[in-house]
Amino acid sequence: METVVFLISAAVILSGALGVIFSKNPVHSALFMVQTLFGVAVLFVLLEATFLAAIQVIVYAGAIVILFVFVITLLGVDRAEDLKVEPISGQRPLAVVLGASIFGIILTVLIVAVGGPTGEQVANTPIGDASDNTKILGEALFSTHVFSVELTALLLTVAVVGAVVLSTRPTKPLISTLDKQQNDNLEDELEEKGEE
């Protein structure tokens, strides 16, 4: 039973992930991502991490991807991009070879690993009963990991501040600083000539 559920959700996750990469339309990519995240949520349920499964659906699939879709449609990039341009010749075949070899290495390592990819049982057994999930996670977050949690809050604030600054349109036209300097020099020279 477990194996069947795992195989089905793995197929859902992988096809979704491939869909994200290969669809020409960004909106389709975002929707494929929802599919992937749902598959991961099923895996969480399988591991009896029910709280994480719920969070996965509500936060990721629900909020974040929908935000993606909003941004994509508002920015008007909801059409296919021309991806045929190759800035460095031979880049793509090389990337395919490298990617395939790294994939091969990872696959080999995971298959030959003694005792499976997760050696220690702590890493893949449920933490307490399913109903205790939320409580145990909350306690861990606010006791042993409280420092990281607080600083993650700072991180989010920083990200918001920076995003606002960067997304505000510049008031002056886009011009390279060096060009600007040259322009200034040019203006100075013109003024000098005028004075002569």
Partner: protein
């Protein structure tokens, strides 16, 4: 039933407030800056640089009291450790941050670059570095890494009107996120095998026999690769030249010193506390990174005409030198301790000399309006003081006695040569050849500044702002002091992480 839900037995975790005092002070200053910006808007802007500088100095006070106290403090079940190693590194970060603020003051005002937000982000990034110095667990290492990287991504793109800066920001962000993803995958594999995120417990798990798992090897390789990106070691260096060139120059100085040092701290903590026993895995990896970084960095630097790009490649080469002692660190415990001291020494001296070089570049570029090396020709005629300072920094970077860089390089060679391993000797030979190549391009810049005729007609002495003068003074002082009295820096960098790991 419903009342049961309300009574949750939760014990507040025991927190050693003295140990986290530096973090709290720095965080408070950052929050204060953001609040002042919201309340006073434009009116508060002129005071922001001074305020953040003072904030960093205030952060140094609890750091000093912790250093005088000297006891090792372990918080959160070993996830956060305040020991001599972390205190020394925190001091280096604070000093580098202070100098970067001095460098930024005029640059940011001139460019009208959102000052309050800039200093807020700078302090946040610094906060991430300070946290990194104490992190001894995969989760806090990762949070610290993101906290120091994300403000850096934003600051690189800070010159919004310049397409080059936009390009640099995007490149840095995409590559940085990719490296984080690879590293995070490695961390998840490590957690999968050992069942814990605390580094010292991972070491225990390796002792217990999990170290032979091939998954552990894969995890270590991925984590090291992730940090190799952060310290810009070849072949993960491709982002550096474009990002350094496009970013505002003070931010470049910050990236090339503080951000690099933070990557090193994490690498050192992971290797010495976590995977020290598995030296057969990480030693060859580090050896290749070190040899490639030195050689490729120096050879490409020879051909650069833009001084910021040259500093980027010289930074890659210096990374090779800094990482080299790690390649023999697993040989024995004493070699390990020596390697650690050598790297920390190098980080401290490198911070001073590289920041100094950038201070000169910023000052000269304000005048010449260009970062081409040729535009600095004959700088001696209009900026004699700066030329002397630049010569000190360049020769220090090249490793000429009696400057600081000499002692840093000497320590590296000493560790490589005394390890008694053939691979150590080989790496020492590679490093020696590279020192000569590096001297060539550093000396070329110095020669142009001293001997060539100035390209400018205007020979009035250059205007140097007070903040740049103080930045230069700090850097020159540290570079000279550490070179002439090496025992000074050696006293502070005699640190050890191995008591924990083994």
């Amino acid at each position: 039933m419903s009342t049961n839900l309300l009574i949750v037995a939760f014990e507040r975790p025991a927190i050693d407030w003295h140990a986290v005092a530096p973090e709290i002070v720095l965080l408070s200053v950052g929050v204060l800056i953001t609040l002042l910006d919201i309340l006073f808007l434009e009116k508060a802007r002129p005071y922001m640089a001074a305020l953040s500088g003072l904030g960093i100095l205030a952060t140094a006070i609890p750091l000093l009291t912790l250093g005088i106290d000297g006891t090792e403090r372990v918080l959160f079940d070993g996830a956060y450790v305040v020991d001599n190693f972390s205190l020394v590194l925190k001091a280096i970060f604070l000093l580098a941050g202070y100098v970067v603020i001095l460098l930024s003051t005029n640059y940011i005002v001139d460019g009208d670059y959102w000052e309050s937000e800039y200093y807020g982000l700078l302090l946040a990034s610094l906060m991430g570095m300070i946290m990194m110095a104490s992190s001894r667990d995969l989760i806090s290492v990762f949070v610290a890494l993101e906290l120091l990287s994300i403000p850096a991504y934003l600051m690189v793109a800070w010159r919004k009107r310049d397409p080059k800066s936009n390009e640099a920001g995007l490149k840095y962000y995409l590559m940085g996120v990719f490296a984080s993803a690879v590293m995070l995958y490695g961390m998840s594999l490590l957690f999968g095998v050992s069942g814990t995120t605390v580094l010292s417990e991972i070491a225990d798990s390796i002792d217990a026999g999990n170290g032979s798992s091939s998954v552990m090897t894969l995890g270590i390789v991925f984590v090291v690769a992730g940090f190799a990106f952060k310290v810009s070691a070849v072949p993960f260096h491709t982002w550096a030249p474009d990002v350094y060139e496009g970013a505002p120059t003070p931010v470049t100085a910050f990236l090339s010193v503080a951000s690099k040092a933070a990557g090193f701290v994490a690498l050192l903590a992971l290797i010495f506390v976590g995977f020290y026993e598995l030296s057969n895995i990480w030693e060859p990896l580090i050896w290749i990174l070190a040899a490639l970084s030195m050689t490729v960095g120096n050879l490409v630097a020879l051909r650069q005409t833009n001084i910021v790009r040259l500093m980027a490649y010289s930074g890659v080469a210096q990374t090779g030198f800094m990482i080299a002692p790690l390649a023999v660190a697993g040989h024995s415990l004493s070699t390990g301790n020596q390697a650690l001291s050598a790297i920390v020494t190098y980080l401290a001296i490198y911070a001073a000399m590289n920041l100094g070089a950038f201070a000169v570049i910023i000052t000269l570029a304000r005048r010449t309006g260009s970062a081409e090396i040729d535009s600095f020709s004959g700088a001696f005629h209009f900026a004699p003081g700066l030329t002397v300072a630049m010569t000190i920094f360049l020769f220090s970077l090249a490793g000429i006695p009696p400057l600081g860089g000499w002692f840093a390089k000497f320590e590296v060679f000493r560790v490589l040569a005394t390890s008694g391993e053939t691979w150590g000797y080989l790496l020492a030979v590679v490093a020696a050849i590279n020192s000569v190549i590096a001297l060539f391009y550093y000396a070329t810049i110095a020669r142009k500044m001293w001997a060539d005729d100035p390209s400018e007609k205007d020979l009035n002495n250059i205007e140097v702002t007070p903040s740049l003068v103080s930045a230069l003074a700090i850097c020159v002082l540290v570079t000279l002091l550490f070179g002439i009295f090496p025992q000074l820096v050696a006293r502070f960098t005699e640190v050890s992480l191995l008591a924990f790991g083994v």
